[in-house]
Symmetry: C2
Subunit: 261 residues, 2 copies
């Protein structure tokens, strides 16, 4: 067994930098130098206490710091591990192109195929409800909306939680109210119903998850979410759908192509 001191240099007792920050610095260094690779286990708290000659709370503080940076994650009873950078799911700006729908594939399936992963949809729920103020404003204040909620998983890991809202006068008595709306998804159905799609507007923020979101997406601490609200417009300029999605940020790489004109 290699000595800890091979990986972790000494602290600077004179400096005014807090001891737990210095310990975090040493661990961060060791990780970035490859002393601990992705998925590797850090020294246990007891070993770090021994090595640095500090109390356990000080060591725990330093590990909490690294967790909040998303660098490591602790597993109860097992240890603290360097977070692997998970394969990212690439979300391209042509993901709603008609050619994909015409092949009978939903956007999620298209993307998952591209990533070579096993897609699953989960916790599907379809209901009617009164729209929130925000959804109402985007959809032109319908009395009621159809809501389609679902969770997306890739290789068993939940990575996205989404809710679609459609004006009820559009969705009523169509396959859109079915749990499975058929090939090409609801966008294909909308076009069959005469709502030819023209463009989508996306609004995107990043923030830390709420505790509820962290649960639903099984997020480790130090993993933000991307919150994206997409509005679909038909060729008459009418907003026909709003989709509110929350994505595990460490699972996504989004790409957009912007015209220069």
């Amino acid at each position: 067994m290699a000595q800890l001191s091979d990986h972790l240099g000494p602290l600077d007792p004179t400096g005014d930098r807090a001891v737990y920050r210095q310990i975090a610095d040493r661990l961060r260094e060791a990780i970035s130098r490859g002393r601990f690779t992705e998925g590797a286990k850090l020294p246990s708290e007891a070993e770090l206490v021994e090595h640095f000659g500090v109390s356990r709370m000080t060591v725990r503080n330093s590990i909490a710091l690294l967790q909040s940076e998303g660098l490591v994650s602790a597993e109860h009873g097992k240890g603290v591990f360097v977070r692997p950078r998970p394969p990212v799911r690439r979300l391209a700006s042509d993901r709603f192109a008609r050619r994909h729908r015409e092949q009978g594939k939903s956007a999620f399936i298209v993307e998952a195929d591209a990533a070579g992963s096993a897609p699953t949809v989960d916790q599907l729920e379809v209901r009617e409800e009164r729209p929130s103020a925000e959804v109402s404003a985007r959809l032109g204040a319908p009395h009621k909306v159809l809501v389609r909620k679902r969770r997306y998983l890739l290789d068993g890991r939940p990575i996205e939680y989404a809710a679609s809202y459609l004006p009820l006068d559009i969705a009523r008595d169509t396959p859109i109210v079915q749990p499975n709306p058929g090939p090409g998804g609801i966008y294909a159905r909308l076009e069959e119903l005469g709502h030819t799609l023209d463009h989508f507007d996306e609004e995107l923020r990043a923030r830390m998850p709420t505790p509820q979101e962290a649960r639903h997406l099984h997020l480790a601490s130090g993993v933000p979410v991307i919150h994206l609200v997409r509005t679909a417009f038909d060729t008459h300029g009418r907003a026909v759908e709003v989709c509110d999605t929350v994505m595990a940020a460490d699972a996504y790489l989004l790409t957009y192509r912007l015209p220069a004109t």
Copy 2:
């Protein structure tokens, strides 16, 4: 002075939910119910210790949890405050449209004007260097690149740190090597030099900041960054610039328009 118990209900001693999580729950509730509004000061640690009858570390644990959620931020010697939701800077997908450049405005100025805020550019540095593997791949493996680094501030607050990379054979002996490249920014200069711009590809991720990024952007804990890499292509399909930017996520709302075709 109102009683703390008016704002914060009692703990559940029977439940197996950790006490510090329950305290965080109570505080989170109180905030979301408007008992503590944006910018308001939470009860001091001493008051919470008194109110809940727990030790100080337990209270501090609960506050650390709320900080990691981005809900509150602590200020040494002053107290713990509910994080105000700062006015977001809206970044629209037409921000590089030629019509903006032709008005002699750089993209950042265009956006800041739209937000009604005072824009500043900071820490400008222009150098030549050998490109990293990633930049090199995107720019078609030039021997050397011109690097333009700068920090953007809005109303004095740093919100973005950016580095542009251009092949040296394009930038050499042009106004692009000047700290201030002139009206319309470097994109206007590129077009004058015959590199008519066709489109931009943007790659976007969200993650927690490195300690260095947190310093440069003065980020409170619980604030992620948006990491965006944009490549500019001219009408010959040549990549003429790569711009690597790190943005304070709480200061930005990005919008994109996607065609449905």
